[in-house]
Symmetry: C2
Subunit: 215 residues, 2 copies
């Protein structure tokens, strides 16, 4: 991915990554992007949106975005961020407390997807992005549902990843202090599936859920 003034990671340069593989891997590990736009007066908005990645594009569900699109035309300058938390980092000093995390900030433009066949295909991608293998288990969107949904395509123009891993980086002078330092890992945990009350009797928990729960 190209580096430029928008994306260069300045604060802690050794945490910056610009390769496509790293950026895609982070994007493929989350569900929600925080998507920001500014209105014509410069008022910023940021909203959480479900997304599905395809190559260097992300598909996004509409609402505020689609209202803004109407107000500014067919392409709107967009910046979005995806963040995964991996741990709480405890240092000897307040100053060096931190988190372990992976994040991507991406810049580009959002445009509306209008073609019904494209929208139907994107719907399937959204469902499989939520939980892999689910699209084929459930009823595809019909024409009314497709028409009722605003979908945006965001093409990544440039992007950067920031990753922090490992131990706290304490000052050498603090390492003799009798203060514990280390990391508490944070992970996402899937609980037991809760079957909806009105599911037809005898319908089992599907393969997609069994796979998600790692059984």
């Amino acid at each position: 991915m190209p580096q430029n003034a928008r994306t260069k990671v300045r604060r802690v340069a050794q945490r910056g990554h610009y390769d496509r593989e790293t950026i895609h891997a982070i994007l493929d590990s989350s569900w929600i992007a925080h998507v920001s736009f500014a209105d014509p007066k410069g008022q910023p908005f940021v909203i959480p949106m479900l997304y599905a990645r395809e190559g260097d594009s992300l598909y996004l569900h509409g609402s505020i975005a689609s209202r803004l699109l109407k107000s500014v035309g067919s392409g709107i300058e967009t910046c979005l961020c995806v963040t995964l938390v991996d741990g709480v980092v405890l240092a000897r000093s307040h100053f060096h407390h931190s988190m372990n995390y992976r994040s991507v900030v991406a810049f580009g433009q959002a445009v509306a997807v209008e073609d019904p066949a494209d929208k139907a295909a994107i719907f399937e991608r959204f469902v499989d992005a939520l939980i892999p293998g689910r699209a084929r288990e459930s009823r595809a969107a019909d024409r009314n549902e497709i028409n009722a949904t605003s979908l945006l395509r965001f093409d990544i123009e440039d992007a950067s990843a920031k990753i922090r891993t490992g131990e706290p980086k304490d000052d050498p002078a603090d390492r003799e202090l009798p203060v514990w330092a280390g990391v508490v890992p944070v992970t996402q945990h899937f609980g037991e599936a809760i079957t909806a009350a009105d599911v037809v009797a005898g319908v089992p928990i599907p393969r997609s859920v069994i796979n998600l729960l790692g059984r």
Copy 2:
């Protein structure tokens, strides 16, 4: 919190909440806010920032924000979002797949905190927001560390919360389909604490970590 055109939850109005208690509870359950600004040309930025809440203000660590502050003056229009994921919602139809989540979108202005005594106190709040009770266990920031850190105070002018809970909302016509529907809960899990390699021998895992792990 006041409602206005910026914050009114339009898409699914019954998911909107505007009371301070709900908004504060969500803000107090996460570490990272996605903070957005626009530069003078209308280019939006969104970056993940650690925060600590105090009343209707959030304290934020600087970097891009502080650069933008320098470019636009002492107050910058800001929108930030905090999102917590609670579950994957599987419906009979692609259309009704969703997530259970809690989110807050807040609008206001960010200003730099300059006073060293204020900054020292905010540092303590940041450490305790990361892991409650930790500030008193570790070395407070000294003058150099305080000077080296850009801190912003974001005052919430208006905010709204969106919350989705519970089962999928399938179309009545789909409820007879032999398709499983339900929720896979998603929670945050803390793993066993990993002690840094160079901690002074005999220093135990501290109370803050023991409390976090619920033991």
